[in-house]
Amino acid sequence: MEAFEILFQASFWVAAIRIASPLIFATMGELVCERAGVLNLGIEGIMVAGAFAGWMTVYLGGDLWFGVVVAALAGALFGLLHGVLTVPFGLSQHVVGIGVTLFATAITYFTYRVALPQVTSPPKIVSMQPLPIPGLSSIPVVGEALFSQTPLTYLAFLAVGVVAWVMYRTPLGLALRAVGENPAAVEAQGISVSAMRVGAVMAGSALMAVGGSFLTLSAFNSFFFEMVNGRGWVCIALVVFGSWRPGKALLGAILFAAFDAYQIRLQSVTGGLVPYQFFLMLPYILSIAALILVARRATYPKALMIPYQKGER
């Protein structure tokens, strides 16, 4: 029964929303890329780079929000690399994505070691503190979970709104969705498919990097290796699970995070009866299960992973 009561604890939902925040940013980033027709497997490495760039900025004396901006810029830079190689050069998005992940991760670890050669335990910064929203945060459970988080979590939810609004309510969004479905039609309108796609990958990668920076600037207060630990790959599954729609993807991210928070608490309730590794693997298995569940009705953007060349059909 204890296992069931967890679901009614405010602290559980607070943790769930906190765990969801980086996933929300990165899922929105991947979604923007994929709606424009580019699979971005650089996500895992870009999150690592974002986590480090944000943390390093603050560690060197920068403001927390400046750290977020630097992370976004770093992400956009890796996005530019990915975008140029996959869009105008038309290289395999699988290979380039893995390459960008390896490159971003390696350069991050190298820089960390060069910048801090002597440290044995990761140095700490003063990370973001919860900012309860007056009034709203005093609603039981829901208020605590949603309205007493750090500002970066609020920004994550705002990002979903902005992505959804741009995508469905602006000409830019229409063009973005169209380059992922029918690039030739976009070109016929006089819009450059290459520019749209590279731009989308840069914007999406910036979001991924901000997601990474949430880990070092809000969830924890230091940078350590392996801290992203497959979250990027999970986000790719979340985009599929959310059928490439921001709202559904947000729901998926929260569901996933709730599950993750739940398995951590379940571990202590079951008291070592089940080996801890099985709890830790649940989120990954859940992601695979979710993919299987939605596979039959998944409607991929029609031009996903198909390079576009002007004048070709």
Partner: protein
């Protein structure tokens, strides 16, 4: 800009771009060495010396290349048929688990019987692990990239559980490690007292075997056809799904052999750091070889040399050995770009 297939490709253009990619990789490394406050030339020289400057260095490079040849071949086979297997790491561990399960005393057989049996078990372990994602792709259309990626994490946790539970070595002082395989399960060393083992010979033999399969058999032809254009392959009567299943079994099996070779040839037991990311590096190895099975041997030795050389350099010059990871990733990105440019002409307008 647009790309047009080159009609005027000469030997010079085919070689110039990859050469430029190589130089660019060295430049990136030199730049990083500068940032780290070291002399770039000295650093690059020490990497070279650490990789091939002595008999010890050379043998160490070949030892490190052994698992990379297996995982590189695994990726080359899978990617040739456009089966995007990013889970060679997990398949390697599946092969290692199979080796340890049967090789630590369960089968008290003489070496000539035991070693082939263990190889078969490792192949099956890796193959079956990739069969799952392949079946999901074929039957339900589940993207194999994400499933194979996520399985890496699942399998590592399974291995962690096994090493702390059923497979834990009671004499291991509490470390999460398995018992050592029995003497009859161990691959002989190629040179007395050195680390290079018979697994390297197996890797070379596998490269030749994969090359023969890809170029001389119907299956190899079908795999290349499916990779080039699945629709066209289907229309011409190739059983695409069956070919993908065979591709998965072959690719998974090769990665499983990497696990067998590391356990039976080098480490003797299973630990959580059996593989230093050989699965992911296998992707680089395969791409640098342009998915050619024999080329995989060359690029595996190159990638292994960078890692081994950088380790030695790092001890001497104090530049972080992560410079090797950057070099390898840069080589991957610049080389795929170079190969594309050597085949296409860029028109600006």
């Amino acid at each position: 800009m647009r790309l047009e297939p080159r009609t005027d490709a000469t030997l010079a253009t085919t070689l110039a771009y990859p050469a430029a990619a190589f130089v660019l990789t060295l430049l990136v490394a030199a730049f990083l060495a500068l940032i780290a406050g070291a002399n770039p030339f000295a650093v690059l020289f020490q990497v070279l010396k650490g990789a091939a400057g002595s008999q010890f260095a050379l043998l160490e490079t070949l030892t490190r290349a052994t698992p990379l040849i297996f995982t590189g071949l695994s990726i080359a086979v899978a990617f040739r048929a456009k089966l995007w297997n990013i889970g060679a790491e997990a398949q390697l561990y599946a092969g290692a688990v199979a080796t340890v399960l049967l090789g630590t005393g369960l089968l008290p057989l003489p070496a000539p019987l035991l070693i082939p049996l263990l190889m078969l078990a490792a192949v099956l372990g890796g193959a079956l692990l990739l069969l799952g994602p392949a079946a999901l792709k074929i039957r339900l259309g589940v993207d194999e990239v994400v499933t194979t990626l996520l399985l890496n994490f699942v399998i590592l946790l399974v291995v962690s559980y096994l090493l702390e539970g059923p497979l834990k070595d009671p004499m291991g002082m509490g470390w999460p490690q398995s018992k050592r395989v029995i003497a009859d399960a161990q691959l002989p060393r190629l040179i007395q007292g050195k680390r290079l083992h018979f697994g390297f010979v197996l890797a070379l033999a596998s490269a030749v075997a994969v090359w023969l399969i890809m170029t001389r058999t119907t299956l190899g032809y079908a795999m290349r056809a499916v990779g080039a254009n699945p629709q066209a392959a289907r229309f011409s009567g190739i059983p695409v799904n069956r070919v993908l299943v065979w591709t998965a079994l072959l690719a998974g099996g090769l990665a499983g052999l990497a696990g067998f070779s590391e356990v039976a040839g080098l480490k003797g037991n299973l630990t959580l750091d059996l593989s230093s990311n050989y699965g992911m590096s296998g992707i680089v190895v395969a791409m640098l070889a342009m998915l050619h099975p024999l080329g995989v041997v060359v690029s595996a030795v190159f990638v292994a040399g960078v890692f081994v050389g950088a380790d030695a350099m790092s001890r001497a010059a104090g530049v972080p050995s992560y410079i090797a990871d950057v070099m390898v990733a840069t080589a991957l990105l610049t080389m795929v770009t170079a190969i594309m440019l050597s085949r296409h002409r860029v028109r600006w307008r």
